[in-house]
């Protein structure tokens, strides 16, 4: 405390130390709030999934050297209330619909792909009740064909905090769908659908 500069340094050093403690308090308390609100077991209903397949030859749809690549899209309904993910440390919630599946030529290959996602920044927008919305992405696989694969859909979320660790979780409730054959898909737009 012996000179102006040194007094300024001690104040700012200590201010930074306390700021770190405050940040830790914010991260920890908001995490406890999430647990208290059962944020890790939010139910979600993904239903009425209608997959379609088509063939693409562009590089931006996974085709290499013009080889035809099967691409898959969806339409689906979604009902989920993500309000519980919001507290004072939630900057945004990134919610995304993913599908897991195995390879057909090489069954040891596991894949997970995103069909749809949404950024929610306000608690008032967190109640999702969507009907017959289209997938955002056209999905292709490492293999050329996707037809006949069994897809397990999950709705996952990621909380981006204002300060602290990123938090990931998924909603409760899976949905399994078998992709149609290419011919079926072209003839009639009604695919097979299994629910679990």
């Amino acid at each position: 405390m012996f000179s102006l500069l040194q007094r300024f340094q001690t104040v700012s050093n200590q201010a930074v130390t306390y700021a770190c403690l405050i940040a830790a308090f914010i991260a920890l308390s908001s995490w406890l709030q999430l647990i208290q609100n059962d944020a890790f077991s939010v139910p979600a209903i993904v239903s009425n999934i209608k997959p379609t397949l088509n063939v693409r030859t562009s590089r931006y749809y996974g085709s290499q050297n013009g080889k035809p690549k099967q691409n898959s899209k969806l339409a689906f309904d979604l009902e989920a209330d993500l309000e519980r993910l919001f507290n004072w440390n939630t900057k945004q919630v990134f919610v995304y619909l993913t599908a897991e599946y195995n390879g057909s030529e090489r069954p040891e290959t596991k894949s997970e792909v995103t069909y749809w996602d949404k950024i929610i920044t306000k608690k008032s927008d967190a109640h999702l009740s969507l009907h017959d919305i289209k997938s955002k992405y056209s999905v292709w696989d490492l293999e050329d064909k996707l037809e006949g694969r069994e897809l397990t859909f999950k709705l996952k979320w990621n909380i981006q905090p204002r300060v602290g660790p990123l938090i990931y979780g998924e909603t409760v409730g899976n949905q399994t769908v078998i992709l149609p054959n290419m011919k079926q898909s072209q003839k009639k737009k009604k695919p097979k659908q299994n629910s679990t």
């Binding site: 931006y60 945004q92 995103t114 300060v163 602290g164 990123l166």
Partner: protein, 168 residues
């Protein structure tokens, strides 16, 4: 005798620099990432990350999960990119994983950004780290200094002044 005095004084300066550097190096060895703390430079992940936000990375995970926000480097480009994993394909037998990424704020995926007309990133080769922690805006000082020449001069002047006026 005076040599020892000068050496002792110089050693203090060495300690300041070496401890800062070795802390960084230690962090990068523990996290297995060559730059364990990064500052966001682009707005392609808004509103999650803005320019100047500080990200803490971890790179000991063998596989990335879908939805993870990863930092990757493209051959021939110096600036690392912070984007989200949109798809992942991995083999259960071989330890290899392919990733497709996308910026939250971008319309399309990152295929146009990848080197050599590749369609995927490789987890073990291209990924610098996965974002685990976040502090907003703290890194704006570094951006400001590196991009604004007046700020650069002001900073240099301030450092020079404090070195001259400081007591060491």
């Amino acid at each position: 005798m005076n040599i020892r005095l000068e050496l002792s004084r110089f050693l203090k300066l060495c300690f300041v620099l070496s401890s800062a550097f070795m802390f960084w190096k230690g962090l990068s060895i523990v996290t297995n990432s060559h730059s364990p703390i990064v500052v966001v430079l682009s707005g392609s992940m808004e509103p999650a990350f803005q320019r100047g936000d500080v990200l803490f990375l971890w790179n000991r995970n063998e596989m990335s999960k879908i939805g993870d926000i990863v930092i990757y480097e493209v051959e021939g480009k110096s600036i690392p990119i912070v984007h989200r994993v949109l798809r992942e394909h991995h083999s259960e037998t071989k330890n290899k994983q392919l990733l497709l990424t996308k910026g939250d704020n971008n319309a399309g995926n990152d295929i146009p950004l990848y080197a050599n007309r590749k369609l995927y990133l490789q987890k073990d080769k291209d990924i610098v780290g996965t974002v685990k922690g976040y502090v907003p805006q703290l890194g704006y000082i570094t951006i400001w200094i590196s991009e604004n020449k007046y700020a650069k001069f002001a900073m240099m002047g301030l450092l020079g002044l404090s070195a001259l006026l400081g007591n060491d």
